[in-house]
Amino acid sequence: MAGPLRIVHYLNQFFGQLGGEEAAGAAPQARDGAIGPGLAIVKLLEQRRCESGELAAEVVGTVICGDNYFIETPTAGDEVFALIAPYRPRLLIAGPAFNAGRYGIACAAVCKMIGDKLGIPAVTGMHEENPGVDMYRRDVVIVRSGASARAMLPTMERMLTVALKLVRGEALAPARLEGTFAQGRVRNELAAETGARRAVAMLLAKLRGETPTTELELPRFEKVRPAPAIVDLTTATIALVTDGGLVPLGNPDGIESISATKFGVYDIGGAERLEASRYESVHRGYDVRYVNADPQRLLPVDVLRELERDKRIGRLHPRFYSTTGVATTLRNSRALGAAMAERLRSEGVQAVILTST
């Protein structure tokens, strides 16, 4: 490839030297060359070229956008793209964002967009608590950083190492070695010993009080802040939600029997109970005969009607929500849960009893 590697750097208002929180509403703008943390990129690239003959590279432009502007403006991504593309970059570096939440989300979103639209490597860095990690780790290469900007130089160093590997078309090492967040990809690798030997070695290490390194990181679940308690049930609208796969006979919405990507919302009007002749469970992760024989065993409409009559609760919401919770990815579950919650809230529901199989 002729000429030096063209790099564009994305920064927020603070690192882009527009100002602090008061400048967080700043619209996207471009500057030729490197600014702020971009100077670290320049310095590190220079070092590498002297030491190991790394390919010539140049920060051709910096695109800056206020964090609030990026999060609140639906067209912000397009505007940022319109400023980045004319530089004809072959690599995008965003941040690092450390533990700044809005900045982290913006950096990762810009990386994803540039990767998708321009097909070039795009790398960012942030702290593990940054919400951008959970939102984008699967789609974007994110390097682990400390919580504060004090770690700028070593973080940028690792970001460049990863980025230049991607530019050269080299495969990245596993996340724990590369210092990135795992993207959830499994790749075949040749090991010197069998799985049984490695497992026993790990167990023995554990018994010795050591901390063996896992070969497969388990998904991390985000902390859910509990909703406040219901003060007065007698005025509350309560909805029934289930992951047990109950749908009207014939499954009109085609809810998947496994690995669900959608949920259904079904009107029960004022029915006293759910009749077995009208409903079925399409869940393929448990024996559904008992629920099909009496849907109340999954969705207790009969008891909630009693409580409604006795004025113990305000009312039973006239629609139930249903999906199948079996081999559903964490990501799908999150998306389904968020969509359900939003719709339930818009329908005026105050509380949910979610029955799970």
Binding site: V288, L298, L304
Partner: protein, 62 residues
């Protein structure tokens, strides 16, 4: 599936009657089954009225 609910951090968890019929019991009489269902829902309503700060289980004898 209470352990799963705890693992994922569900704030208010009410142990129920089993995977194949969380709110029923195919072996019981219809009356006993109805009573079981009422009891689980009663605990669910208690859970909804309880202030919790972390994943909390509301067991049968609460």
């Amino acid at each position: 599936m209470t352990p799963v609910a705890k693992t994922v951090g569900s704030p208010r968890i009410v142990p129920a009657a089993g995977i194949v019929h969380p709110l029923g019991n195919a072996q019981a009489t219809p009356e006993a089954e109805q009573k079981l269902r009422r009891d689980i829902i009663r605990r669910a309503l208690q859970a909804l009225q309880a202030d919790v700060t972390e994943s909390t289980v509301f067991p049968a004898q609460s």
